[in-house]
Symmetry: C2
Subunit: 207 residues, 2 copies
Amino acid sequence: ADVLDANRRIADDVGEHLDSHGILSVEFMGSTGSGKTLIIEKLVDHLAKNGKRAGVIVGDVAGDDDYRRIKAHGAEVVNVNTGKECHLDAHLVEHASEKIDLDAIDCLIVENVGNLICPADFPLGTKKRVVVISVTEGDDMVRKHPVIFQIADAIVVNKIDLAPYVDVDLKVIQTDLKRIAPHVPAFMTDAKHGENLETFMDAILDE
Amino acid sequence: ADVLDANRRIADDVGEHLDSHGILSVEFMGSTGSGKTLIIEKLVDHLAKNGKRAGVIVGDVAGDDDYRRIKAHGAEVVNVNTGKECHLDAHLVEHASEKIDLDAIDCLIVENVGNLICPADFPLGTKKRVVVISVTEGDDMVRKHPVIFQIADAIVVNKIDLAPYVDVDLKVIQTDLKRIAPHVPAFMTDAKHGENLETFMDAILDE
Ligand SMILES: Nc1nc2c(ncn2[C@@H]2O[C@H](COP(=O)(O)OP(=O)(O)OP(=O)(O)O)[C@@H](O)[C@H]2O)c(=O)[nH]1
Ligand SMILES: Nc1nc2c(ncn2[C@@H]2O[C@H](COP(=O)(O)OP(=O)(O)OP(=O)(O)O)[C@@H](O)[C@H]2O)c(=O)[nH]1
Ligand SMILES: [Mg+2]
Ligand SMILES: [Mg+2]
Ligand SMILES: [Zn+2]
Ligand SMILES: [Zn+2]
């Protein structure tokens, strides 16, 4: 419990610091391979089209794959390797954000390590938290990991184009979401071909 | 480090206990929704066809979805809900195995919680550890989470039928496996339609 309290205090500091620069900040959590980076790549493009600049902090256990993909879209990016840790924490994000010129960006995006469990207990200080799952993981992800959906500000159920190939009925996922996290807006997207992605991005950027 | 040492000691006890009953034991780790339960369902059927009986311990954060799916195949199953913990540990498996009549089974199967990070550091005492990923997560899973592939006894890259829909080149995954875990046998499977699954099951059961 001490670890969680300490993290929450640092998260509050991070949040205040970002607010003082007038920056909107959004975290993306979710399962490994659910499509977090692809959605962030498109979000960076969407922001640029509206004349807004993005800073991105990418958390991964090892390597710089996601860092390179997002950097190619022209954002200011910082890579954080977590090693044995299966989630980012506010302390890591505090230090990573020091490497970004906060006066040169309008929006800070954080991609957490793929994990549907621990991130729920470790807020990072961002204004919004989005959880991303994909239909290819099966139709039971929501009821199996209720907490991370309940603490989110938005939910993305991605890869809906693949639902027929994994025998997943989207209505089962929607029913679980209504029961488990009725207060959280949910978006069914196909990030690859763009379906419903604009709707999600406008909603999360308060446009 | 104390936690890892304590876990290893209990895992050794579990291993000795299973050996004394002449039981083959296999753990399935891997990403959420990669196909662990589907593979276990087919493994239980495969064992039954060869006159062998399976006991299964299923770890999930919440609910009994996987428990019910596997029970329907006639195996002796125990459900373990891990709550806030993102992985099983040897202590949980020790207690769960007490609920199974070890003289009535030939093979014990353990399904870990979906997570490509922590399970690597928490052996459960089984003779073999298998890690399952699916191509729908992208082609970078191996280089992003090297440790869990290096400590495994076998690797399953599942859902190869879906590779064309997510722009994944299987050769990229195979090249990473050769570089990162050259000593570990890898199987490219489609558990839904059965491709290469028999080959994997025969290999893991030493038939
Ligand atoms: N068909 C389809 N493929 C998608 C979609 N979204 C992502 N993908 C594919 O899914 C794979 C994983 O996407 P990423 O963006 O790397 O996922 P991620 O959540 O960032 O993965 P990690 O950071 O490794 O946890 C890639 O091969 C993408 O091309 C989608 O909506 N439809
Ligand atoms: N097309 C296709 N679908 C598959 C394959 N293997 C599993 N699936 C589907 O993938 C989804 C997830 O499968 P599960 O067996 O529940 O995966 P799991 O790893 O046990 O999931 P968790 O226990 O929740 O982490 C289900 O909808 C399966 O039907 C495959 O090889 N090909
Ligand atoms: Mg990513
Ligand atoms: Mg399962
Ligand atoms: Zn964790
Ligand atoms: Zn863990």
